[in-house]
């Protein structure tokens, strides 16, 4: 049992749930308290100690039955036993009509034989089950295995068999019985396949080493990420944000013992007759105001998406955020984030402004920005542009950009491209560069996180 639980925990880890050693030790302590007889309590003991995030509950619920439920598929019924000799003869006669392969399959169904472990393994190998590490693939894998067993043809054959038997003059009621029985047997086989697929995937998950892979993803350039990688990274954003937050918080704590605030000290000590008993220090950690302008064209999508995700997960460290997205024109997207999960809001924005054959035009977007939203930029604002500076030979509108840079406290440009490429093609980066205070190259999530950490330091 202990081994089973340890396997279960590794499978959870494989599924992207972070379980620490201390937590797995807690799980064992909890099981000692509650015992393993009562299935529900056992499950609760594991859940309360291992799962600390509501979004991980689904993974837990999916994996738990694969490890701890009686995994026997419903037993198949042996039809051959309760046939009268007469019926058996008819059946044998009818079966002769089919090809050898189909006949063998049908006979198996009639005898109610389950698939052996060896057969299952073979099937799994055929459909690539050994490489599957995502429970979402379970149904699909089961269906592919069923295909490999030629389930559809067998079903067709069953129908023909029933017709043949009917022609031979078998009792109608009896025929219906036989049909139902065979049907049930086939469903049971399907269930067995599904079970096997689930267990196998869970096993694969348990063997996978998740952390290396995710670290590797953090350092993979945005343009080399697949959709699947993005799915995993999106999940990590909140965790990264939590890490960043505690780093920022620590920094603020250290920064707090700063200058003496004379005015505030006098005010605070009025009640003590101006004897300075309480000393007040100046709180130097003003939270920054951000204006973020994100390029969400195809080449920049992932970068901007993760950027917005991180910024919105860190809202409590920022006094105000105005977010804008552009491709060929600019849209104010902050309202999307009101009362919505950041990830959902970003997905909404991306769906509203689909990528495709557009003319990326930062110049025009800047013009729109200065026309409609100029009041969002003041001397306390940090202006952040996330983009590759590739402007399709449109007018870069440096005049507006330099005006914005002057108005804002700081101007930061995040560019995923290496400086070597800035002078090539339609890149206007070299023209924008002298106007920015800081330019950071962010081609991976790790770099992006470091950049945000840097940005949130207010001076």
């Amino acid at each position: 049992m202990e081994e089973r639980i340890i396997q279960f925990i590794s499978a959870l880890r494989g599924g992207g749930v972070r379980v620490s050693l201390a937590e797995s030790a807690d799980a064992f302590k909890a099981i000692e308290e509650l015992g393993i007889q009562d299935r529900e309590r056992f499950k609760l003991a594991l859940r309360a100690t291992l799962i600390k995030d509501a979004s991980d509950l689904a993974t837990f619920e999916e994996l738990f039955p694969l490890f701890f439920d009686a995994t026997e598929a419903p037993p198949l019924l042996n039809l051959a036993q309760d046939l009268t000799p007469e019926e058996a003869a008819m059946l044998a006669e009818a079966l002769r009509q089919f090809s050898r392969r189909l006949r063998e399959m049908l006979e198996k169904l009639i005898r109610g034989e389950m698939l052996s472990q060896q057969e299952l393994d073979q099937l799994g190998q055929m459909v690539g089950l050994n490489r599957a590490t995502d429970l979402r693939q379970r149904e699909w894998m089961a269906r592919r295995m069923a295909q490999a067993l030629r389930f559809r043809e067998v079903q067709e054959a069953l129908r023909q068999l029933m017709e043949l038997l009917a022609q031979m003059g078998i009792n109608k009621q009896r025929l219906e019985q036989i049909r139902q029985l065979l049907q049930a047997n086939q469903e049971a086989l399907m269930e067995q396949l599904r079970q096997h697929a689930g267990q196998r995937i869970a096993q694969n998950m348990a063997q996978r080493r998740p952390d290396q892979e995710i670290d590797e993803l953090f350092n993979r350039p945005f343009n080399a990420l697949s959709d699947q990688d993005m799915d995993r990274l999106r999940k990590e954003v909140r965790r990264l944000a939590a890490l960043l937050r505690s780093r920022i918080a620590l920094r603020q704590k250290r920064a707090r013992t700063g200058q003496l605030d004379a005015k505030a000290t006098i005010r605070a000590n009025l009640k003590h007759g101006n004897v300075p008993i309480e000393i007040v220090h100046r709180d130097r950690t003003l939270k920054p105001k951000l204006v973020v302008i994100c390029d969400i064209s195809t080449s920049m999508r992932y970068c901007s998406e993760l950027m917005l995700g991180l910024i919105y997960a860190l809202q409590d460290q920022i006094s105000k955020t105005h977010a804008f997205a552009f491709i060929d024109h600019l849209e104010y997207i902050s309202p999307d984030f009101v009362g919505q999960e950041p990830n959902a809001a970003i997905a909404g924005v991306l769906a509203r402004m689909p990528s495709g054959y557009y003319n990326t035009d930062l110049g025009f977007s800047l013009e729109q920005f200065s026309r409609n939203f100029l009041d969002t930029v003041d001397s306390r604002t940090t202006l952040i542009v996330v983009g590759d500076g590739r402007n399709n030979y449109n007018n870069p509108r440096l005049d507006i950009f330099s005006m914005l840079a002057r108005r804002s406290h700081r101007t930061i440009w995040l560019n995923p491209e290496s400086p070597l490429l800035w002078a090539t093609g339609d890149s206007d980066m070299l023209k924008y560069a002298p106007l920015c205070d800081i330019i950071l190259q962010v081609s991976t999530l790790a770099e992006l996180t470091a950049a945000i950490d840097k940005m949130l330091v207010q001076r």
Binding site: D26, R41, A45, A48, L250, T298, D328
Partner: protein
């Protein structure tokens, strides 16, 4: 009242029931675990599902005192743990001035006087002048307590880090006095509305309980318990309606406490059935946003005549002007 510990989840469940809190098996079991393992319990879930109520019921059931720490942005150690009572210290020094002078008068020189004063220093930095805030109160209490740390997600990350130290060994060091250790380990319940991610370190130290909206039957039981005057048939209708509202995409879904308020409103209005008239007058008890109200009215088939049409989407500018150059961006 003597404090109780429970021998099984079922016993705990029954005791919570006596406190008018209907706990399902899940809640009772995890709460029992938290008692047995001596670990804080972190409860999460939508607002108004009875997370705070759970801590209160637990305090009632165990016969322990409830000490509550409400978190908010900017909460710091002086508000959560302890603070020196400066004004009182100052007052005492003023009043005791004569006595102090007497003590110091016999000193031959300044150094000796300072030594004597230092010897008396402890008087002014003693427990007498220590203003105990909830955390310290829970630690020092002679009787066992339940410590409720409410809405931890609203506090700053910095405070969370500080809380870790306290929760792991229940001792704090006050530089002037020394280390204070808990007499009894309090039962700790933390609640969070999940407005931000809590730090992993904090989560690791806690047991986790997610409380979701109850099922129709559970919520009906709550309504029956708290508002027994409401006719059973009407109660069921009301609860079912609330559940339907929760499946809709509202800005704020009605919570259990709002269901109860609504049930009380129905009783007060002497409602016999949920007709459009009653709904119209009482719906604002359940829904607190104008847009939600309008939306629900619309979906319940009571279209308002003056419902303004939505403004048309802004057209994309210069749609046909970009023929100069195209590329897959």
């Amino acid at each position: 009242m003597p404090t109780r510990t429970f021998a099984s989840p079922a016993e705990l469940q029954a005791a919570l029931g006596e406190q008018q809190y209907i706990a399902n098996d899940e809640i009772a079991t995890i709460l029992y675990l938290s008692q047995q393992l001596g670990k804080p319990l972190l409860t999460e879930g939508p607002a108004g599902v009875g997370k705070t109520e759970l801590a209160k019921a637990l305090a009632g059931a165990t016969g322990r005192e409830l000490i509550r720490l409400q978190c908010y942005e900017g909460l710091d150690e002086t508000k959560a743990l302890y603070e020196w009572e400066y004004a009182k210290q100052l007052l005492y020094t003023q009043l005791l001035r004569d006595k102090l002078q007497e003590t110091l008068a016999a000193a031959p020189n300044l150094a000796a006087a300072a030594d004597r004063l230092a010897a008396e220093e402890d008087v002014f930095f003693s427990m007498r002048f220590l203003l105990q805030r909830p955390l310290l109160r829970a630690i020092l209490s002679k009787e066992p307590t339940v410590l409720l740390i409410d809405e931890i997600d609203r506090a700053d990350a910095e405070f969370e880090a500080f809380l870790l130290e306290v929760l792991s060994d229940f001792q704090v060091s006050v530089p002037e006095i020394g280390t204070l250790t808990a007499v009894h380990r309090p039962l700790v319940v933390l609640t969070s509305n999940n407005t931000r991610e809590l730090s992993e370190a904090l989560k690791r130290r806690c047991l986790y309980l997610f409380i979701d909206y109850p099922t129709v039957e559970q919520e009906l039981a709550v309504v029956r318990l708290k508002v027994p005057e409401l006719a059973p048939r009407l109660a069921r209708q009301a609860v079912e309606l609330v559940h339907r509202l929760r499946t809709m995409d509202l800005r704020k879904a009605p919570s259990i406490s709002e269901t109860l308020d609504w049930a009380r409103a129905l009783v007060a209005l002497n409602a016999r059935q949920l007709d459009p008239q009653t709904l119209e007058t009482t719906l604002s008890v359940l829904l607190k946003h104008e847009s939600d109200l309008q939306r629900v009215r619309r979906e319940m088939g009571q279209v308002e005549p003056d419902g303004e049409p939505r403004p048309p989407r802004r057209p994309r500018p210069d749609d046909d002007e970009f023929t100069r150059y195209r590329r897959v961006n």
